[in-house]
C-alpha cells in the first residue's frame, strides 16, 4: 500500500520560522534561498563564454549590462526615493564626456579615467539637479527631461567638446573579455551593493521620503539632504555606465544624450518590477536583446517600448520579477503524510 502523499510548499519550513530573517537549518534550504542569486551571478559570468562563437552578441552583452546598470539607477531613484528621472541619458552623457576628457585631454589610463569620471560626473549631475530637490517629484521629472536636450543644444551651439562630431581617440579595453567582465562586475557590484544599501538606516529614511515626506521632516531629518544623497548615488550608478559606454565605443558624442538611454531603463524597470532592483536588471536583459532583434525597425522600437511600458504600468504594474518571486515561493513538493 502506497503511503499517503500531500503537497507542501518548499519554503514552508523557512516561512514558519520567520518571514524576513531566515534561520537556515540545512543545505537544501540554503540552496533554495541562494539558488536564484547564484543562478544570476553564474549566468552573467558564463554569458561571454556561451556567446564565444558569436562576437556580435558578445557586444550585445556589454550594452545589455550597461542598460541594466542604468535601470538600477532609475529603479532606486523612482521606487525608493520617489523621484522619477525622465532623462537617464543625462547621466550617461555626463559620465561619457567626463571619461573622454579625463582619458584624451588629461591622458589618464582607462582604469583611472572610468572611476574618476564616475565620481566627477556624479558630483556634476547632483549639482545640476540641486535646485529641484526641495520640491515635489514632478519638478524633478520636468528638469531631468530637459537636461539631456539642453546639453545636446549647448554642445552643438558652442561647438565645445568636439561639437557634433564628438570626442574621438578614447582608449579601448584591452580585449573582449575585459570589456564583458568589467560591465558585468559593475552591474553585480551595484546590484548587491544597492540591495544592502536600501536596507540600511539611510535606505529606510529614503523610503520614508518617498512614502511620507512630511513625516520625515517631522522627525527632524532634512528631506532635501536625503534626496541629495539619493541623487548622488543614482548619478554615480548612471555615470559609471556612461563612462563605460564611452570607453566601449572609444567615442563620446551627443548621441550619449540620446532618448534610448532615457526610455529603455524606464521600460526595463516597469517590465521587470519596480522596487526590486533585480527586476530592473531582468527587464534590461529582456528588452535589450529584443531591441537588437528589432533593429530593422529603427525608431519604431521606441514605440514598441512605450506600448509595452504603458501596458505593463496599466495592467501588470507589479512587473515580472515580483510575479516570479511569488511563484518561486509557492513551489510545492510531494511529502509523505
Amino acid at each position: 500500500m502506497d503511503a499517503l502523499m500531500r503537497k507542501e510548499r518548499i519554503d514552508r519550513g523557512l516561512k514558519v520560522r520567520t518571514e524576513g530573517i531566515y534561520a537556515i537549518s540545512d543545505i537544501r534550504e540554503i540552496l533554495y534561498l541562494m539558488g536564484p542569486r547564484i543562478l544570476l551571478i553564474a549566468g552573467l559570468f558564463a554569458l561571454p563564454f556561451v556567446f564565444e562563437l558569436a562576437p556580435y552578441w558578445k557586444k550585445v552583452i556589454n550594452i545589455m549590462c550597461a542598460y541594466a546598470v542604468l535601470a538600477l539607477s532609475f529603479d532606486f531613484l523612482a521606487n525608493y526615493v520617489g523621484l522619477v528621472c525622465l532623462g537617464g541619458a543625462f547621466f550617461t552623457g555626463v559620465g561619457g564626456y567626463f571619461a573622454a576628457i579625463f582619458n584624451t585631454t588629461l591622458g589618464m589610463p582607462i582604469w583611472l579615467s572610468m572611476p574618476l569620471a564616475t565620481i566627477a560626473g556624479a558630483v556634476f549631475c547632483t549639482f545640476c539637479l540641486l535646485p529641484c530637490l526641495p520640491l515635489r517629484g514632478v519638478y524633478f521629472a520636468i528638469v531631468t527631461l530637459m537636461y539631456p536636450l539642453l546639453f545636446t543644444r549647448i554642445i552643438e551651439a558652442l561647438d565645445i567638446l568636439g561639437g557634433t562630431n564628438g570626442m574621438t581617440g578614447i582608449d579601448a579595453f584591452p580585449n573582449a573579455y575585459v570589456e564583458n567582465y568589467t560591465i558585468i562586475a559593475i552591474a553585480l557590484i551595484f546590484l548587491f551593493g544597492m540591495r544592502r544599501f536600501v536596507n540600511q538606516d539611510v535606505g529606510l529614511v529614503l523610503r520614508g521620503v518617498k512614502d511620507n515626506d512630511q513625516a520625515v521632516r517631522a522627525s527632524g531629518i532634512s528631506v532635501t539632504r536625503m534626496r541629495i544623497i539619493a541623487v548622488f548615488i543614482a548619478s554615480l550608478i548612471g555615470c559609471s555606465a556612461g563612462a563605460y559606454i564611452a570607453h566601449l565605443y572609444m567615442w563620446a558624442g551627443i548621441s550619449l544624450f540620446a532618448l534610448d538611454f532615457s526610455i529603455i531603463p524606464i521600460a526595463a524597470v516597469v517590465i521587470g518590477g519596480g522596487g526590486t532592483l533585480v527586476g530592473a536588471m531582468i527587464g534590461a536583459f529582456i528588452l535589450v536583446p529584443l531591441s537588437e532583434v528589432l533593429r530593422a525597425f529603427g525608431t519604431f522600437r521606441i514605440v514598441i517600448y512605450c506600448i509595452i511600458l504603458t501596458g505593463f504600468i496599466v495592467f501588470k504594474s507589479e512587473g515580472i520579477m515580483v510575479y516570479l518571486q511569488r511563484k518561486y515561493h509557492q513551489f510545492e513538493r510531494w511529502v509523505k503524510v
Binding site: L135, R136, M146, V303, C306, L309, V314
Partner: protein, 289 residues
C-alpha cells in the same frame, strides 16, 4: 521696435502652447507629458485631411484635426490614466511613454523632412510700427487673445467651467457638491488637447511639421508653467511674456541656439528663488516638501 513687436508675438505663441498643459495640470493634477505629441498629432492630422482628402475645405480639416486630437486626449485619460490616477510616478511615466510612442510612431510612419507644412490662412504681410509682420502672426495674436477671453468667460460663467475650477481648488469639497472628478478630468484632458491642437494649427503654418517640434513644444510649455506657477492661469501669461521677450532678446543679441538655454535657466532661477512660481502663492506649501 522689432524686438517689441516680435516679443509680443513670441510671448503669445508661448502662452498658446502652454495653455493646454496648465489647464490639464490645474484641474486633474496630471502633468501631461504627451502635450507635445498631441500638438504634432493635430498638425499632422490636419495636413492629412488637407492633402489626402481632396476638396476638403481648410476650415473643415482644421476642425476635424482639433476634434480628433481632443478625443485622443480624452481617450488617453479614460483608458490609461484613470487606472493610475493618484500614483504620481506611474502618471508621469505613462504620459511620457504615450507621448514618446505617438511622436516616434509618427516619425517612423513617415513624418520626416520638410515636406509637411500647412498653408497660411492669408498670405501677405502688413507694416506695424515700421516692422513688417505677416498676417499669420497677426492671426496668432488675435486668436491668442480671443482664446484667453473665451477661457476666462468659460471658467467664470458656465457650469462646466465652474466645476473645473471647483475641482482645481479643492477636489474633495467639489466631489461632495456632486462634481464628478473623473468626468471633469476626462473633459479637462480633452479640452487641454484641443488647446494644444489649436496652438498647432495656428503656429505650424509658420514652419514645417517635424517631430522635434513636439519635444520643443513640451519643453517650452513646461518652462512657462513652472515659471508662472504650475496650474496658475495668470502665471502663464506673465511667464510667457518674460520668456518670450528673453528669447527674442537672446536671439537678436546672441544666437537662436540659446533659446532653450534661456528657458532652462529661467526654470532653475525660478526654482531657486521662488519655487512655486510667480503666481503660485496659493499652493506654495503644497509644492515644497
Amino acid at each position: 521696435m522689432e524686438i517689441v513687436v516680435y516679443g509680443i508675438i513670441n510671448s503669445i505663441t508661448l502662452s498658446l502652447i502652454s495653455l493646454g498643459f496648465t489647464l490639464v495640470y490645474s484641474i486633474s493634477r496630471v502633468p501631461n507629458f504627451a502635450h507635445g505629441a498631441l500638438y504634432v498629432t493635430s498638425g499632422y492630422l490636419t495636413w492629412i485631411f488637407l492633402n489626402k482628402c481632396t476638396g476638403m475645405p481648410y476650415v473643415l480639416a482644421i476642425i476635424l484635426g482639433i476634434g480628433i486630437t481632443a478625443v485622443v486626449g480624452a481617450l488617453i485619460y479614460q483608458f490609461i490614466l484613470v487606472r493610475v490616477r493618484g500614483m504620481e510616478i506611474s502618471e508621469i511615466i505613462a504620459t511620457y511613454a504615450i507621448g514618446l510612442a505617438i511622436l516616434e510612431g509618427l516619425r517612423w510612419g513617415g513624418l520626416r523632412g520638410g515636406t509637411f507644412s500647412l498653408p497660411a490662412f492669408f498670405a501677405g504681410s502688413v507694416d506695424i510700427l515700421g516692422v513688417s509682420v505677416d498676417y499669420q502672426r497677426l492671426i496668432i495674436v488675435g486668436a491668442g487673445i480671443l482664446t484667453f477671453i473665451l477661457l476666462y468667460l468659460f471658467t467664470r460663467y458656465t457650469k462646466m467651467g465652474l466645476a473645473f475650477r471647483g475641482i482645481a481648488q479643492d477636489e474633495r469639497a467639489a466631489m461632495m457638491l456632486g462634481i464628478n472628478s473623473d468626468v471633469t478630468a476626462v473633459l479637462s484632458l480633452g479640452i487641454g488637447s484641443a488647446l494644444a491642437g489649436l496652438a498647432a494649427i495656428l503656429l505650424l503654418p509658420l514652419g514645417n511639421i517635424v517631430v522635434e517640434t513636439g519635444y520643443n513644444v513640451l519643453i517650452f510649455a513646461i518652462a512657462v508653467c513652472v515659471i508662472g506657477g504650475l496650474g496658475s492661469w495668470g502665471g502663464v501669461i506673465v511667464a510667457s511674456f518674460i520668456i518670450g521677450f528673453a528669447q527674442i532678446l537672446t536671439e537678436s543679441f546672441l544666437s537662436a541656439h540659446y533659446q532653450m538655454v534661456v528657458a532652462l535657466l529661467a526654470i532653475i532661477l525660478t526654482l531657486l528663488v521662488k519655487p512655486s512660481g510667480i503666481f503660485g502663492k496659493q499652493k506654495e506649501l503644497e509644492e515644497r516638501v
